[in-house]
Amino acid sequence: MPFDTLDPNVRSDWLTIGSASLLDGCTADRPMATRLLGNHLQAWRDAAALPVVIADGQSLPVLERYGYLWVHTGDGPQRTLFELPEYDESGRRIVDCGGIGVATSGLRVVENFLDMGHFPYIHTGTLGKVPQTEVAPYRVHVDAATQEIWALDCHFFQPRASACAADGIDAQYRYRVMQPFTAALYKSSPDHAGALDVIGLFVQPLDDEHVIAHVLLVYFEDRLGDADMIAFQQMIFGQDKPILENQRPRRLPLHGPLEAHMRCDLTSATYRRWLRQRGMAFGVHPD
């Protein structure tokens, strides 16, 4: 059995190994090589153009959805892959921003993605600006049917909320955590009043302390080219990367002394509690 983790989440979730486009030109003789949960994987398309993923000589269950490849460890129950109906909604553009390697636990990457409090300090001039540092109250709940975390009614003043923004706006946000390593952000679309753009964060855990963070844009956007949209997202993620890589321990502490969370940390507190309740172990600090 290639995967020896006892974590019930990573055994039953669908985990990404990146964009389906990574298989372009790959064959059984020249496969795409990557890592997942400490294992080496090879992937390619077979004669019927279906994706094949092999770990340790064994074929793994694989889905191709939302332009990405999703792999199951083949050992344990298969959860249903999360819904992302916006992906198929007409009028939206799909822009893959690719994956960026980060030397930390994937849980830290997701937790950072959920945090609005760092915007003015790390994304100065785009997603926030000192002294407008206040995180207004918002609501967080775990959806009873899907067991996903939703943070609603979030808003934050942003001097340049997207690549095409000319003026500051009070950006409306919704956060969603579909799986421990998979989250999405819904955010006011600058040119389409009332509509929400979606940023998907699909984290590929290479091992407990190294990930590839993949970002997918599902946007109403008709002014900018792909390269400008990607440049903006990669700038934001590139600013987070050194912060994430300097956090110690690299694995997320879940079981230490109770931390006093402030109101602005409500999503993070909910995420950590949700991970504890699910028996999360992969990428978790063994304290």
């Binding site: 690719g98 100065t124 390269a227 590139g238 600013q239």
Partner: protein, 211 residues
Amino acid sequence: MIRLYDYELSGNCYKLRLLLHWLGLQYQRIAVNFHPGREHRSPAFLRDINPLGQLPVLADGDFLLRDAQACLVYLASQYDRAGHWYPDDAATRGRITTWLATADDLTRSIAAARQHYSFGMAADIARCEALARASLRLLDDALAENQASGRPWLAGTHEPSIADIACFPYAALAGEARIDLRPYPALQAWIRAMRHRDGFIAMPGILDPAL
């Protein structure tokens, strides 16, 4: 209008943004989808922009110039009338050119290892680390000597030159190549001094000193 074929996360593109900014020049940024799109290796880019498939490329009117170090020399020669960044002095220019070659070694070592860790591109990590350490040692020794003599910048000048701009980005990004800068104290002091220059602009991975 000057145009810069640019990639946000590239240290070699950033060094041109930094000099253009310090020279007070207006320019148009043309974002190239380096990752994941590999647009710099597309037939159109190779044919029309740069046959070597590298960034940055500078366009000034009809004049198209590749190679980050060459672009620094061009911009300073053409637009820095005071000769501050590329002083008109034979010995200084000789020393600057030496460090422009070191900047290429940093690209071959630190930038290559960083691309491996960030974008999954193939690299011989042991070779990258050996060349990175040799280059950083060279820089640290020279900077220690210059700092002691009161001409603290790389080419032995009182003010920074394009030698400093050329070597700065990938020295400062060494952490993203998983190279520890603690053995190079003079180099670390020089990175701090660069970041605290008036009008400094940051890039992802190189923090603004105000943060």
